[in-house]
């Protein structure tokens, strides 16, 4: 069965520092992969997605993610974090043969001024 692992429950970074959030997936074929962000008290916003082609994908708010098949990873990165990036980040992958998404447990990002 498909699964998504986000190893880091909580990460704290200083404003202006770089960020990498980890996501590992288990999937039988090349999956579609998604990153969502949930700001406090808000719903989920799609940050970026990977379907095929270029393994480095660009998203909104200056985020990017790299798909690495050999490592079954889809890590999210940002070169310089802003205080407004403090939120919870979820990685997701569709179930095989269906439209339902399976979400990781999420990584909470705190930003120190």
């Amino acid at each position: 069965a498909q699964s998504v692992t986000q190893p880091d429950i909580h990460i704290t970074v200083s404003e202006g520092a770089s960020l990498e959030l980890r996501c590992n997936y288990s999937y039988g074929a090349t999956p579609y992969l998604f990153w969502y962000v949930q700001s406090p008290g808000q719903g989920l916003q799609l940050l970026l997605k990977y379907f095929s082609g270029d393994t480095l994908v660009q998203g909104i708010k200056g985020f990017e993610a790299e798909f690495k098949r050999s490592q079954s990873s889809f890590n999210l990165r940002k070169p310089s974090v802003h205080w407004s990036d403090a939120a919870e980040y979820f990685c997701a992958v569709p179930r095989a043969g269906s439209y339902q998404l399976t979400f990781g447990k999420g990584t909470k990002l705190s930003v120190i001024p």
Binding site: Q42, G43, L44
Partner: protein, 114 residues
């Protein structure tokens, strides 16, 4: 993309009562989903709601507890019945755009059951 609204945005309810949550989309979509997010947790799919057919429930969720309606291609409701404090969660609806499993989410309904 799709713009999704939910009503109410939050509510505080007494145990034993029921609450109906509405989800409205600004365009016609085939597939809508309802998720639950318990405090400090990730999202768990409750059911898939397709227009013109019965909702499909995930393991651990039953129609008597979470009845769903899907009267047309832009609207759905989820009812949380006979509520208990364990039902305190954020309930989110989402829609699948028909493009590569991409889903867009509503802002959520924050439910507290006393």
């Amino acid at each position: 993309s799709a713009v999704i609204s939910q009503k109410p945005s939050r509510d505080i309810c007494q145990r034993g009562t029921s609450l109906t949550i509405q989800c409205q989309v600004d365009s016609q979509v085939t597939m809508m989903f309802w998720y639950r997010q318990q405090p400090g947790q990730s999202l768990t799919l409750i059911a898939t709601a397709n227009q013109g057919s019965e909702a499909t429930y995930e393991s651990g969720f039953v129609i008597d507890k979470f009845p769903i309606s899907r009267p047309n291609l832009t609207f759905s409701t989820l009812t949380v019945s006979n509520m208990s404090p364990e039902d305190s969660s954020i309930y989110l609806c989402s829609v699948e755009t028909g493009i590569n499993n991409e889903q867009f989410f509503g802002p959520g309904t924050r439910l507290t059951v006393l």
